[in-house]
C-alpha cells in the first residue's frame, strides 16, 4: 500500500520532464520514482494539463504545439488526473477566500485536503498559506515512513 497519497501541482509535474534551471528536480522526480514503486500514489488535477500546456506555449519555454502535445500525453500516462467533486469545489472557494488565493490555486489544496493527500508544490502562495509541501519535504517524509516500515 502507498505510504502517502500526493497530489502534484503543475509546477512539480513540469519538472518531471524539464530540468535546466529548475530547483528540486531530483526531489520532484523522486516522487515519480516512488509512484512507480507504488510507495506514493501520485495524481494531478484535470486543470493541470491546461496549466502546463499554457505555461509551455505562452511562457519562456516557447514550446511548439507538438512538444506540448507530447508532454501532455506523457503526463496523462504517468498518473491519474482527478476531477474535483462538488464538495471539493465548495472547499476550494472557502480556501480561496480565507487565503486570498485564486480558485484554481485553491482547488489543488482542496482536492488534496479532501482526499487526505499531501500537495506537492513549489508555488510560494500555496506554501505561504500552509496548504502545500515542497517535494523535498515530502521525500524526507517518505524516507522516514520507509525507515519506520523497514524496522
Amino acid at each position: 500500500m502507498p505510504a502517502i497519497d500526493v497530489v502534484s501541482d503543475a509546477d512539480v509535474a513540469l519538472k518531471w520532464f524539464h530540468s535546466d534551471g529548475e530547483q528540486e528536480v531530483a526531489e520532484a522526480r523522486a516522487l515519480v520514482d516512488a509512484h512507480q514503486a507504488r510507495t506514493v500514489a501520485l495524481s494531478v488535477l484535470d486543470l493541470t494539463f491546461y496549466e502546463v500546456g499554457n505555461a509551455l506555449l505562452r511562457g519562456r519555454a516557447r514550446a511548439g504545439a507538438e512538444q506540448v502535445a507530447t508532454v501532455l500525453e506523457a503526463l496523462g500516462a504517468i498518473c491519474p488526473a482527478l476531477r474535483p467533486e462538488p464538495e471539493e469545489r465548495r472547499l476550494a472557494a472557502e480556501l480561496a477566500e480565507r487565503h486570498d488565493l485564486t480558485l484554481h490555486d485553491a482547488t489543488y489544496a482542496a482536492v488534496a485536503e479532501s482526499r487526505e493527500a499531501a500537495l506537492a508544490t513549489l508555488d510560494h502562495e500555496l506554501l505561504e498559506a500552509g496548504l502545500g509541501a515542497r517535494p523535498s519535504e515530502l521525500t524526507a517524509r517518505l524516507a522516514k515512513a520507509e525507515r519506520r516500515g523497514g524496522r
Partner: protein, 105 residues
C-alpha cells in the same frame, strides 16, 4: 486474513458495457479501516460502494512502471531543447496572467 478481523458484508456493484448489474460480495475489513472509508465517503457525499469501486479502479488502473518510464522519456525528449527556466515561475506567471484577465472581465 487475520482471525481477529470482523466479517462485515459490503455490497459492491459494477457496470459493464455488456450488462449493468450489481453484484453483492462479502469482504472482510478491519473495523478501523471501515470507519475511515465511511467517514471519507460521507464527506464526499458518496456511498461506501461507490468509494470502494473508485479505490479498486484506481488500484487496478495503476500504470505499469514501464509505461511511466516510457512516458517520462517522451516528455523529456520533447522538452530537451526548451532552455533554462524554473517551472514554478512559469506556472505562477501563467496563474497571475489568468487572474489579471479574470479581474478585467
Amino acid at each position: 486474513m487475520r482471525s481477529e478481523e470482523p466479517h462485515i458484508g459490503i455490497a459492491m456493484s459494477y457496470n459493464s458495457a455488456m450488462a449493468a448489474r450489481a453484484v453483492k460480495v462479502m469482504v472482510s475489513l478491519p473495523e478501523d479501516l471501515l470507519s475511515r472509508i465511511d467517514r471519507i465517503a460521507a464527506e464526499r457525499h458518496t456511498s461506501r460502494s461507490a468509494f470502494l469501486q473508485e479505490a479498486a479502479r484506481r488500484e487496478l488502473g495503476w500504470p505499469d512502471p514501464a509505461v511511466i518510464e516510457a512516458a517520462l522519456e517522451r516528455g523529456r525528449t520533447a522538452l530537451a531543447g526548451s532552455g533554462s527556466f524554473e517551472s514554478a515561475d512559469l506556472i505562477r506567471a501563467e496563474r497571475e496572467a489568468r487572474d489579471a484577465g479574470d479581474r478585467r472581465r
